[in-house]
Symmetry: C2
Subunit: 376 residues, 2 copies
């Protein structure tokens, strides 16, 4: 156990990196996928089950938690880790992105943003200073700068203006964060799909100095090809010796492509949200469990998977409980999806470490191309 | 492990009985509470978690399972135990009660009942013979006779007529059940709140002969006092050397009162259904977790309870996730309720065995009378 926050790069293979983030609450093996625990729970999962899938770190959402149950309440109750029974690292976002996507009646100024809660219409304010305060009250291990993220496509002037505002906010976030040993503050690069704006943003962030650097403003509707084009250069603008976090990504092939381009951390609601809607990710692509072809199928989702859904249940059972709207459907499919995502991460970490990441990627894509097992 | 079904009475204390039902799939310690796994799942619970609460046996619902996924499908998939990943004993009801409470357009004749599915309106038939066939296809360890259960209050003629029909059906059920070593068929006493009809029913059942005897037609709206009055005499009409099962009961004090009157087995959806609606049962009575008094309360539901909800979470957290409509709310509160119900059963088994059941009951009622801990 360390009392400091640090990042150690252990191996590289091409641009792909294998390393470890050390925190007082435990190590985060990278590349890392962070399940999302929006409202102090990874939906449909017990935290010990999330850990059993191989997750080293969770993401919490500042926007949701500040509205309910509120950061002050969580602080009084001993912090988010204790509140939600997860004693390992937690990264919290800044709230900026979700204010833009969820809240009503937003008003954006240089100071910050005011908005109405999507839950009860109450009025709230977020600013770099308030976001840092909330994330401190939550007890977050990795704190994100407060930023603004325009939806794509947007015109270049809008993207540039927004990025420069986010850089001024990054400076204020750093200042407001203060000196908190064992805790990290990550800057967020913006700039849309404009290479020079990405570079300008990275330079601004490096000038301020952070414990890690995120790439924001992607996975917002631009498509995989455009995202990968940006990731072909954007990580190179960031320091080698700090973790690089791609926010809000993504599907399994997005994740693999991002790691191949030098990304160390990602988060996404996809495995948990899809688990609740019957969409299952396996080595052989996507399985839709509500499809009638599974109704009589005694086989597991993936015979090689060791998660509870695959170890103990047939596709027929999973189909049945999904159709019957039983909670165990979301519980089992979320568990499977999170397990599969973490297996991808472990596979990539091992392959990068062994210098066989190219071969690993070929196998990953070849299996997906095969498609699901044939109906009986 | 035994290949036979048997019941061994180990101790009595007053009318209360402690024993064990031996089946090829494992022992059922009595008095036993059976969680309800309606559609091949105890809602919001993994089966290994249900087992961890102390449950020896589950109840499955013939009516729900025959409609979806169908008994024939479950049979093709290897039976209900394998389908739902529960290898211990399962008792299935006959479908009769739920046809009356859930299905549409029922038509009752001497032969049986035709009805329309509440799920898709499709037409189905249940009879003693078909119910035995379905329960055999499911692979049930304890099969219930097909019966008719009138809602109370009902006039005496209606109750008598219905009871006599159920007794003719019990005879046909016994015949249709056939010879199935290791499996048990239970008869169901009817007769409403009419003592002589209960006795007539019991005599009819004993004349046929069953491996166990249920008391049906209670917990259907008559109230606790009326139910206990009936239980003051009805169990005495049944053989001492066979298990006695009170169907659909109940609240904690119903359960304790029933055991005091000689009941060995019970089932109820209450702990799981209440868990999903935020109603929590503790030693000190009922706690409604959505009440605002819990929002800032760092204390567990019950400091003496060892379930995950009480061991790892504050009332404030449970309040938060209930308000936020998070699945973990139903998962944790169901676990707690089932755990508490099983603790009551274990407490009663120990007390009966030790000859201290009267004292145990006094303490049970005294704690409940105290009420929940005071707000902070």
């Amino acid at each position: 156990m360390t009392l400091r926050f640090s990042f150690e790069l252990k191996a590289t293979d091409g641009k792909a990196r294998n390393g470890v983030i050390k925190t007082p609450r435990g190590d985060v093996r990278t590349p890392a996928f962070m399940p999302v625990g929006t409202a102090a729970t990874v939906k449909a999962m017990m935290p010990e089950s999330v850990r059993a899938t191989g997750a080293d770190i969770l993401l919490g959402n500042t926007y949701h938690l500040m509205l309910r149950p509120t950061a002050e309440r969580i602080d009084r109750l001993g912090g988010l880790h204790k509140f939600m029974n997860w004693d390992r690292p937690i990264l919290t976002d800044s709230g900026g992105f979700q204010v833009m996507s969820l809240a009503g009646l937003r008003k954006l100024t240089e100071k910050g943003v005011t908005f109405k809660s999507h839950i009860d219409g109450s009025k709230h304010e977020l600013s770099p200073e308030r976001s840092m305060e909330i994330q401190r009250l939550l007890g977050s291990d990795i704190v994100m700068c407060f930023d603004e993220c325009p939806a794509l496509p947007a015109d270049r002037d809008r993207i540039a203006e927004s990025m420069r505002l986010s850089m001024r906010w990054a400076d204020r976030s750093r200042e407001a964060f203060g000196d908190r040993p064992g805790h990290a503050l990550f800057g967020i690069m913006q700039g849309g799909l404009e290479r020079d704006l990405r570079e300008e943003s990275a330079e601004a962030l490096k000038g301020i100095g952070f414990e890690g650097y995120a790439i924001g403003g992607l996975a917002v509707g631009e498509g995989q090809e455009a995202m990968f084009s940006c990731l072909d250069y954007a990580p190179d603008f960031l320091p080698d010796d700090k973790p690089r976090y791609l926010m809000g990504v993504g599907k399994p092939d997005d994740i693999v492509g991002a790691v191949a381009r030098g990304i160390d951390m990602m988060d996404c609601v996809l495995p948990s949200r899809s688990g609740r809607t019957g969409q299952v990710f396996t080595r052989f692509g996507v399985v839709n469990i509500k499809n009638a072809r599974h109704a009589d199928d005694p086989r597991p989702l993936d015979e090689a998977c060791s998660c509870p859904a695959c170890s103990n249940y047939s596709r027929a059972y999973l189909h049945h409980v999904f159709r019957a709207n039983e909670m165990i459907s979301g519980m089992l499919l979320t568990w499977h999806n999170l397990h599969y995502f973490q297996e991808i991460m472990q596979g990539m970490r091992d392959a990068i470490s062994a210098g066989t990441f190219e071969t690993w990627q070929q196998q990953f894509h070849a299996q997906r191309a095969q498609g699901d097992i044939r109906p009986l």
